[in-house]
Every structure is written in structure tokens, then in C-alpha cells.
């Protein structure tokens, strides 16, 4: 069964450094998402992406964040200058067209980002 994959599984970086988190969504999916979960807190929506552009973003997704789908398979989240409070588990998700699966989103295993 196809799955969403994410790399790396764990990323440690120093404050102020740039990080890129990578995701490979399920191949025929059209909608892509990033969520994050700070330890002990809720899973929070960051951004959704469709047809090569951002369709929605949350207040968390400020100018320090960007997303890109550089080729037909990868979907990346970049944090330009990391802060301590960016430490969290970052989840990528994807979904097919509504007619194929309702609104079911398929999640990756997550990347744990630790900013020191």
C-alpha cells in the first residue's frame, strides 16, 4: 500500500540555521499539507498546497516558512532561520481528489525537529 514518506526522521539544528524538511506524498494525490505538533500540544495545521500554490495557511506559517514542490514527487517545508520554539514534530499529509476518498488525509511518519 502506498505511503507518505518523510526525511529525515530527526533533524537537529542550531538556532538561526535554515532547515528543509522533505516529504514524498502518495503519487496520485493532489493536495498536500504540513502540520506540526509541539511536545505535549495539539497537532496544528501549517499550510495546504494545491495546483502548485498555497491554498491556505495558518498564523504560524509566517515569512520564515515556505513550501515548494520542486518536482513531481517531493514536497518540502523550509524554515529560513529557526527559533527554539520551532522545535516540534512536523507531519506531512496528502490526499486524493474528493471523489476518490472523501477528505481523508494520509500522514507521513513525521520529522522531529530539535532546535538548540
Amino acid at each position: 500500500e502506498p505511503e507518505v514518506t518523510q526525511t529525515p526522521s530527526h533533524q537537529v539544528t542550531q538556532m538561526g540555521q535554515e532547515v528543509i524538511l522533505r516529504c514524498v506524498p502518495i503519487s496520485n494525490h493532489l493536495y498536500f499539507y504540513w502540520y506540526r505538533q509541539i511536545l505535549g500540544q495539539k497537532v496544528e495545521f501549517l499550510v495546504s498546497f494545491y495546483n502548485n500554490e498555497i491554498s491556505e495557511k495558518s498564523e504560524i506559517f509566517d515569512d520564515q516558512f515556505s513550501v515548494e514542490r520542486p518536482d513531481g514527487s517531493n514536497f518540502t517545508l523550509k524554515i529560513r532561520s529557526t527559533k527554539l520554539e520551532d522545535s516540534a514534530m512536523y507531519f506531512c499529509a496528502s490526499r486524493a481528489r474528493y471523489e476518490e476518498s472523501s477528505y481523508e488525509q494520509y500522514f507521513g511518519p513525521g520529522t522531529r525537529l530539535t532546535v538548540t
Binding site: Q41, E44, F91, R95, S102, Y103
Partner: protein, 111 residues
């Protein structure tokens, strides 16, 4: 703005006992509600969605619009049900279809 509340962080029951994980939401429109489950060291996966009205692994959930609730129930808990359960909402008609999650409830089923 929409909000999902799961009042219990931890629910501990014995095997064979009934289980009810509570979920309440606030949203002025017509939402779609989901239950996601995360077993130990595994990814988040969809368990139930309200529109399909199905029973998965013995779990059911009914959307009660009057009480704005979507509680998850199972008559007889099994040890393999131990996991983290998240209630989530999608706003109706939202093209981006972002999920708004509750804080999650950890279910522990003791032998």
C-alpha cells in the same frame, strides 16, 4: 474559528469494558468530523469519518449536531486498542480542507 475539544487526556479501562472517548466541537457551519488513531511508533491514520457511518475495528461514532459532539465508542475494549486518539474537523466547503485537531486522548486498555 473552529475548535475541537477532547476533555480527557487519558482514559484507562480494563479489557472487555466499554469505551467512550469524548469529542466536542464548535463551528458555525456544517463540519465533517473524523477520528484519527496513532498506535505506538506508527503514523496518524484515519479510523472513522462521520459521513460514512461505518464501524471500524468495533468503533462507532455518531455526529450529534444538537450537542456538537462526535464521541467515539466501542462496547468491548481490546488491548490492541491502546493508542492515542484524535478527533478532528474539516470545515464544510473549504477547498483547502485543513484538519483542526483536538488535543488527543490516550486510551490504555489493561489486561
Amino acid at each position: 474559528a473552529q475548535r475541537v475539544t477532547q476533555p480527557e487526556k487519558l482514559l484507562s479501562v480494563f479489557k472487555g469494558a466499554p469505551v467512550e472517548l469524548k469529542c466536542n466541537y464548535s463551528y458555525s457551519g456544517s463540519p465533517e468530523l473524523f477520528w484519527y488513531v496513532q498506535y505506538s511508533r506508527q503514523r496518524l491514520q484515519l479510523l472513522l469519518r462521520h459521513i460514512s457511518r461505518e464501524s471500524i475495528k468495533g468503533f462507532t461514532a455518531d455526529l450529534n449536531k444538537g450537542e456538537t459532539s462526535f464521541h467515539l465508542k466501542k462496547p468491548f475494549a481490546q488491548e490492541e486498542d491502546s493508542a492515542m486518539y484524535y478527533c478532528a474537523l474539516i470545515r464544510g466547503g473549504n477547498a483547502g480542507n485543513m484538519l483542526t485537531f483536538g488535543g488527543g486522548t490516550r486510551l490504555m486498555v489493561k489486561p
